[in-house]
């Protein structure tokens, strides 16, 4: 908190209480209320994933003799699957796949999309062309895109990553373009131009910092979507290839053996819920702090 300085002999209006600093505001958004809940949920999943080798009592692909489709017990927390593997061990290792997807593919798509949006919006022709291409990509539901792409690339982890990058690229490309256009019209940009600032200076000092802010919110939203895409793709068999596990493939296996081992799918499902919900809560908290 900065103290209000009153200059002696000066007559001035008091500080406007409606103005808040964005940065502490954002910090506050993530340390209280739903932001905090989101952060904790995501945090738990991240810790589970990172500590997978320490937490997992078995190796993810280890077949345990005699342990076929067991229910939850003290030795197998989430039971075992049809080929005698420990579900909990597979789940914590599977989380790593999703973390890779979330924290690698989405930022990659965001960076590429922002760059494309930034560069192409400079000239009218490239701007119109890219935006129309984005329209086409955005017209496909991401799952259709996933099926189409994996038809070319074959199923696998990297197909998932490519699908997510391809799905998020236009989202960010468009967002960056829109906020660039808004910020470019702001008086402070003109103020810099009037004192002689060139386009690069204006871009670096004023336009970029002010246009990137809405991206943080979209990033959180896109990450939750990515978890969903990975889940859906693996569920359909377009994702990671057996014997590797991901949350989506575990859910698929769980659903397949639902009648024999109803508990199987519960663990991975809860993790997906925690991750998606946590990311959405974070994005909501960020969006709210911006509006305040």
């Amino acid at each position: 908190m900065s103290a209000e300085i009153i200059i002696p002999g000066e007559l001035d209006d008091s500080l406007d209480p409606t103005q808040h600093d964005v940065r502490p505001q954002r910090r506050r958004a993530l340390t209280q209320g739903r932001g905090l809940v989101g952060l904790v949920l995501v945090g738990i999943v991240v810790v589970l994933g990172f500590a997978a080798p320490l937490l997992a009592p078995y190796s993810p692909n280890e077949q345990i003799p005699g342990a076929n489709l067991l229910g939850p017990s003290s030795t197998h927390w989430l039971g075992t699957d049809e080929v005698n593997r420990d579900v909990f061990s597979r789940m914590v290792h599977g989380i790593r796949v999703d973390l890779l997807v979330v924290f690698l593919a989405v930022p990659l798509g965001a960076i590429l999309g922002s760059l494309v949006g930034l560069v192409t919006s400079w000239w009218r022709i490239t701007d119109v062309l890219t935006q129309r291409v984005f329209d086409v990509i955005l017209a496909f539901p991401s799952l259709i895109l996933a099926i189409a792409l994996s038809a070319f690339l074959g199923p696998g982890l990297w197909t998932v990553v490519i699908v997510i990058v391809a799905a998020e690229l236009p989202v960010f490309g468009r967002l960056v373009r829109t906020s660039l256009r808004t910020v470019r019209e702001m008086p402070f940009v003109e103020a810099a131009e009037v004192v002689g600032a060139g386009p690069l200076w204006v871009l670096r000092r004023h336009v970029l910092p002010n246009s990137l802010e809405p991206l943080t919110i979209q990033l959180a939203v896109s990450m939750s979507v990515a978890v969903f895409i990975e889940g859906a793709m693996s569920f359909l068999g377009l994702g990671v290839r057996p014997p590797a596990a991901s949350l989506g493939s575990l859910i698929r296996d769980g659903v397949r053996t639902m009648y024999d081992a109803p508990y199987f799918a519960v663990g991975p499902l809860l993790v997906v819920v925690a991750l998606v919900l946590g990311l959405l809560l974070i994005s909501q908290a960020l969006a709210e702090s911006r509006r305040a």
Partner: protein
Amino acid sequence: MSSPLLSIEHLAISFSHPRPAVNDISVSIGAGEIVALVGESGSGKSMTARAVLGLLPDGATATGSITLTGADGSETPLLGVGEVALNKVRGRRIAMVFQEPQTALNPVRTIGWQLREALRAHGRVDKAAARERAVELLTQVEIPSPEERLDHYPHQLSGGQRQRVVLALALANEPELLLADEPTTALDVTVQAEILALLSRIRERTGTSILLITHNMGVVAQVADRVVVLQQGDVVEEADTRTLFASPQHAYTKQLLGAVLRLPEPDTRVHALHEVDDRREVEPVVRFDGVHVAYGSRKRGRAFPAISDVTFDVRAGEVVGLVGESGSGKTTLGRLAAGLVPLAGGEVLVAGEDLLGASASRRRELRRSIAFVHQDPQAALDPRVRIGDTISEPLDIHDVGTRAERRARVTELLEAVRLPASYAARLPHELSGGQRQRVAVARALALRPTLVIADEPTSALDVSVQADVLTLFRQLQEELAFACLFISHDLAVVHEVADRVAVLKGGRLVELGPVQRVFAAPRADYTRALLAAVPAPDPSVRPVRADETPDEAADEDGLAS
């Protein structure tokens, strides 16, 4: 008045954060009375009016009491009652007029439709009767040919006429009280004068009480019977308008009145004063030579002339005030001098060189000597850049001096605009509006410009702050002797700072001359109309009203001030 029509008692409104918006406000409005709520931003004047109709924003809690007393003596509480009870009062017994007529009207519906809606919202009126009443209402707000206007859309009306329609909407159900929140602030002076006169006449004709919320002391002096002065959520003074202006009691009221800029009285002697043509043989800092500017695409053949054939110059060290109403092209002319607007004809010479014809690098050089101060300091400062960096940005761009020298210059500039050097580390939102505008001035002066273009630099500020910034600006101008093109719609402000005035109307220059001459003895009819429209901050120089015989003493006052 025996019992007031509306009485607000000990109203307090608070948000969870940080201080209460309204602390303890009691106001009573008698039948047929015009009461002005005056105060600067943050004084709680709008909140008070909103509380009357239960229009407080989410998260606000109000305590105290607001009571509406009917002609039959029935009392209706308005605070803490439900929406249903409020809806019986809203529009029917108390109506509200907002500041911005553009947004208060539905752009896709005709005026007639909107008036009929307002009539039907409170009771069933058949179509023919509604139409008849709508015409009557438009007549009441003095809109010419009301029958035709019914079928017009808001965009076909001028700003002033739109505000008249908004008034007609408010009057639709013959309310006992009209809440007018800055009803003329968004309007040009000449239009403002008309609307103010209309408000007085409406009160006379219908007996409607009016609670007028404004920051403009001139407006208060012109229409209000009684004034309530608010400061940071408290009533600091309440008095009859004449008494208040003649002998303000509270220090804050005195300060508010002291900050009001006054126009000089017309003086016939000045006629004799012939203009000295001291056009020295020095090159003017900027010269507009037969300048034309057009907006819109010329390819599509729809160019709209914003500036037509304007010629004048700004000499070294002089302040030229550029005056006009909205759409007069004053801002365009200022932007033209800064090279921000394409030229359709004529020449802009900066220090004798054609600015727009120069090569890019030469233009950059020429621009160095020109600084621009924007209207809204909030928008003109990058919210993410610290004050110190904002001020040194021009120095950084032009690579002036070493880092240490630049930092020293920032401190020097902050000092020049009377801000502590420690402010360099702050972000814009940590400053008040007036402080932000000082920063904008400091930044403009960083490169020691020979010409400063100031586009309405004080119009986004409160009166007392405005006075401060103006004083500072004048001191700096005298000290540093830069030439200045000072753009403003506020004649009093221009009178305060300018050496010469240029009056623009519809993109044409209608008058140009030394400030004393133009204000005291305007030659163009338009200038005269502009000057006459400024509401004098003196209740005794009101336009004479039909029901009121002006007393002699007041007239003398008016001449003396």
